[in-house]
Amino acid sequence: MLSRTADAIYWLARYVERAENVARFVDVNFTLALDLPNESAAQWKPMVLTTGDESEFTDRYEDFSEQNVVRFLTFDRENPNSILSCLWQARENARTVRDTISSELWEQVNHFYLLVKNASKRDVIDSSHEFFAAIKQASHLCTGIADSTMSHGEAFQFARLGRTLERADKTARILDVKYFMLLPTSDHVGSPYDALLWSALLKSASAFEMYRKRFRAIHPDRVVEFLMLDPHFSRSMRFSVKGAERSLRLITGGDESGYANPVERKLGQLRSELDYADVDEILKGGLHEYLDGFQGKLNEVGGAVYESFFALKPVKA
C-alpha cells in the first residue's frame, strides 16, 4: 500500500487510542474525587504530567484546578493531545484514507469526532461519567469495526501496530506518574484510601477486574507487575508490545528468528526484554528509570517505523 496511506492509518489508530486513554483516566479521577476526603481531594496535576504536556499547560493556565485540567485534556483545541484534538487528527487521517478503510470505520470515526465536538460546545461536561464512557465505547467500536469490516491485510496491521504502540506507551505513562504520586503518601498505607488509590490506578487502565481475578488482594508491587508484565491482559505493556510485534511481522512477512529492518530489531529486543523481566528487579533498580527507558525505546520504535515505511525520500529531478 501507499506509504502515505500506511502512515495515515497508523496515526488514525494511535489518535483514537490516545483519546480513549485520556478519557479513561480523567473519568477515574472524577470518580476518585468523590470518594476522597476533602483535604486530600483528587490530584489533577498528575493528569497533566501523565500526558507529558506540562509546559504546554503551564504556559496557558494559572493553576491545576479540576476545571482547568479537565478543559485542557478534553476540549482544548490548542492542546494537540486533548481528546478533541486527537479526534480531529484521527478524523483528518481517516479522511485522507477513506478510500482504503471501510465506510463503516470512516463513519464511526466521523461520528466519534462529532460526538466530542458537539459536547465541546457546552462549557461544562454534564454527567461526565456517561460522557467518558461514551468516548471509551466509541473507541472500542472503532477497533471492533475495523476488526470485522476490514480485510486483515496491511492496512489493518498498520492500524493495529499504531494502536498497540500507543497503548504500551500510555500504560507506561499512567504507571509512572501514578506510582510516583502514590508511593510518597505513606501515611495512607494500610488505610482504606490506599486500596482506593491503587484501585484507581488499575481502573485508569481498565485493569481492575482483571487484576482481581489474577491477584485478588491489592498490593502495589503486584499492580505494577500486572500492568507491566501480564502476558494475557490486553493493556499490559508486554501484551501490547507483543501485539505490535505480531502486526509488524505480518506486514513484513518476516519470522521471529531474526530481523530484516531496524523496526523488527528494536521491537524484538523490547519484546524479549519484557518476556524475561522480573518485577522485583525492576523495582529495585527504580521503576521510574525503567519506565523512562521503556518510553525512550518505544519512541525509537516509532521513529524506525517512520523511517522504514513512511518516510518520503526527496525526489531527485
Binding site: 500500500m1 501507499l2 506509504s3 502515505r4 496511506t5 500506511a6 483528518e92 479522511r95 485522507t96 477513506r98 478510500d99 482504503t100 465506510s103 470512516w106 463513519e107 466521523n110 461520528h111 462529532l114 496491511e154 498498520f158 506486514i251 515505511f309 518520503l312 525526489v315 529531478a317
Partner: protein, 500 residues
C-alpha cells in the same frame, strides 16, 4: 405538504405541465408526495441531511475556519426526466463527445479543420487552454476525453440546450451516486414503481474505461486516482471514486518517475502505475512541462506519457474543446467530422472576438449573459438583466480590453422544479449535468447532477454560489426492458426508448 397551490408562473416546469397537472412520467412521484402525512416530507428531508452528515458527504468551503466542511445543500424532491427527453440527451451527447474527441485530435495534429476554413486558426492559437506541449501527441486508443460533464438547460418552451462542456476534471458525479443512495432510502416504494434507471454502476464503468487505456502489453493495469489533496473542494469525490473502484488514491508526492515509468511509493517499495485518472488541472500535473511552481504534480510525468508508458485521463490539452469561444463552433465541428446535424443544440452565442458580434454584445449588455471564456464556477460573469449600469460599464471595459476572452448568450429563462422552501413548494431554476464516459464505447450515465439555484429567482446553480442539488430520475417505460407493471407512457416515447 401538497402541490395544490404550486404555480409554474409561466416557466417550463420539470414536474408539472401546468399547475395541478404533473407530467405523465412524474405522476407516481407527485401522487406519493401528496399522500404523505403532514410533516412527513420535512422529516424525510431532515433524515436525508443527517445521513449526509453522518456519511461525511461534504465539500470544503474555502476561507472559513470552523465549519470548513458543509453538506452540499440537497432537496429531496427529485427531478424526473421523461423517456423522450432522455433519448435526445443520450444521442446528442454521444454525438457531441465523439466529434469533440476528433476535433481535439485534429487540433494537436494536422489542424485540417483550420485548413478547410471551418474554424479560424486564430481562435485556437489565442486560447488559454491550448497546450503547445501536446502537439503531435497521440493518447492511448486515440481517446482524449474520457470523462465529460456537460451542462444542459431548458428554455421556457422546454427545449433542451447544451450550455457548456466540461472536459477537464468535471466533478459532481459522487453527489449523483450519494443522492441516489439517500433517495432510495427516502422514497423506497415510489422509486421502485417508476422504473428509475440505475446509476450505481458508474464506478464500474469508469474503471473499465480507465483500464481500456492500459499501455500495450499490460494485462492487469494499475489504475490510480490523482488528487491535489484533502483540502481540494472535491476531495470527497476523489476519495469516493477511488474507493468505489478499489484503486489507490494518490497525491503527487506519492508518485515518482523512475527509468521512464511512473512509480508509486508503497510500504513494499516502488510499484508501477499504468493509468492515472487525474483530478489535477493540466497546469499542475508536471512542473517540468507546465507550471514550474506546482508541487501538486509529478516531475517528468509528461515524458513518460509521451512514451506511452502511462495513460492520463482526461488527456492533457482537452481544455481546448471546452473553451467557451470554441463552443460556439461545435455545430460546425459536428458537421465537419461526422457529417451530421447537431442533435442537442447550442445556446446562441456571440463571440466578442468577432467585431460585428462584439458591437451587438456591447449594445445589448442589459439583455445578455456575458462569460469569460476561461473561468467557470459562476465566476467572471455578467448577468445582464440583473446587473446595474455601473457593472455593465465596468464589464464593457473588460471586454474591450480583451474581446477574445468573452462570449455572450441571451438570458434563457431556465426551467424550474418544485423545491421545498420552508413549509411549501416553490419553483427553483435548475440545470442538468450528465456524465459521459469514453472507453471502449461512449456511455452516458442515465441521470446526472441536477443543480438547483436555491435563492429565489436566481439563475446561478453553482455550488460555490449557493446552489444545491436534486436527484435526477431518468424513467423508462415497461417495454424498454423492465419487469415492472407501471402503465406505460405514450406510444411514441416507447419507440424512442427502443430506438436508442
Amino acid at each position: 405538504m401538497k402541490f395544490k397551490d404550486y404555480q409554474t408562473d409561466g416557466f417550463y416546469d420539470e414536474l408539472f405541465e401546468k399547475a395541478g397537472v404533473p407530467h405523465e412520467a412524474a405522476k407516481p412521484l407527485v401522487a406519493k408526495i401528496e399522500s404523505l402525512p403532514k410533516g412527513d416530507l420535512h422529516r424525510r428531508q431532515q433524515a436525508a441531511e443527517a445521513a449526509f452528515l453522518q456519511m461525511g458527504v461534504t465539500f470544503t468551503v474555502y476561507g472559513s475556519d470552523e465549519g470548513t466542511e458543509k453538506i452540499f445543500p440537497f432537496d429531496i424532491v427529485p427531478r424526473v426526466i421523461q423517456p423522450a427527453d432522455w433519448t435526445q440527451i443520450e444521442r446528442g451527447l454521444k454525438q457531441r463527445i465523439e466529434a469533440l474527441n476528433l476535433f481535439i485530435n485534429d487540433v494537436y495534429h494536422d489542424q485540417n479543420i483550420v485548413k478547410d476554413g471551418i474554424v479560424p486558426g486564430e481562435l485556437l492559437n489565442s486560447a488559454d487552454s491550448f497546450r503547445p506541449q501536446c502537439v503531435g501527441l497521440t493518447p492511448q486508443r486515440d481517446i482524449w476525453i474520457h470523462v465529460t460533464g456537460t451542462d444542459l438547460v431548458r428554455d421556457d418552451a422546454g427545449k433542451l440546450f447544451v450550455l457548456e462542456d466540461n472536459l477537464r476534471c468535471p466533478s459532481g458525479v459522487s453527489y449523483v451516486l450519494q443522492n441516489r443512495e439517500v433517495l432510495k432510502r427516502t422514497f423506497p416504494n415510489v422509486f421502485e414503481s417508476m422504473n428509475v434507471q440505475p446509476v450505481y454502476d458508474y464506478p464500474n464503468r469508469l474503471l473499465a474505461a480507465l483500464q481500456h487505456l492500459a499501455p500495450v502489453g499490460v494485462a492487469e493495469p494499475t489504475v490510480v486516482v490523482l488528487t491535489p489533496g484533502m483540502y481540494n473542494s472535491a476531495y470527497f469525490e476523489h476519495a469516493y471514486l477511488a474507493q468505489q473502484m478499489g484503486v489507490e488514491l494518490v497525491e503527487g508526492s506519492d508518485l515518482v518517475v523512475q527509468d521512464n515509468f511512473v512509480m508509486m511509493r508503497t510500504t513494499q517499495g516502488f510499484q508501477r502505475v499504468d493509468v492515472i485518472y487525474r483530478r489535477i488541472d493540466d497546469d499542475f500535473i508536471d512542473p517540468k512541462v507546465f507550471r514550474k511552481d506546482s508541487c501538486l504534480g509529478v516531475p517528468g510525468l509528461m515524458d513518460v506519457y509521451r512514451r506511452g508508458h502511462v495513460a492520463l485521463a482526461n488527456a492533457p490539452g482537452t481544455g481546448i474543446a471546452d473553451d467557451k469561444a470554441v463552443y460556439a463552433y461545435v455545430p460546425q465541428i459536428i458537421k465537419y467530422y461526422l457529417k451530421q446535424d447537431m442533435i442537442l443544440p447550442n445556446v446562441e452565442t456571440f463571440l466578442c472576438g468577432e467585431p460585428k458580434q462584439l458591437k451587438y454584445v456591447l449594445a445589448n449588455l442589459d439583455k445578455l449573459v456575458v462569460k469569460a471564456v476561461n473561468l467557470s464556477g459562476g465566476y467572471g460573469m455578467l448577468i445582464g438583466p440583473h446587473s446595474t449600469k455601473k457593472e455593465q460599464k465596468d464589464f464593457a471595459a473588460q471586454i474591450l480590453a480583451s474581446p477574445r476572452n468573452f462570449i455572450a448568450q441571451p438570458t434563457l429563462s431556465l426551467s424550474r422544479a418544485p423545491t421545498i422552501v420552508d413549509d411549501d413548494f416553490e419553483g427553483r431554476h435548475v440545470d442538468l449535468r450528465p456524465y459521459i464516459l469514453y472507453g471502449e464505447d461512449i456511455f452516458v450515465m442515465p441521470g446526472g447532477l441536477t443543480r438547483v439555484a436555491l435563492r429565489k429567482g436566481s439563475l446561478v446553480v453553482n455550488s460555490s454560489q449557493g446552489g444545491g442539488s436534486k436527484d435526477t430520475w431518468v424513467v423508462t417505460s415497461k417495454e424498454a426492458g423492465s419487469s415492472q407493471t407501471q402503465p406505460t407512457n405514450s406510444q411514441t416515447q416507447t419507440q424512442d426508448v427502443t430506438d436508442a
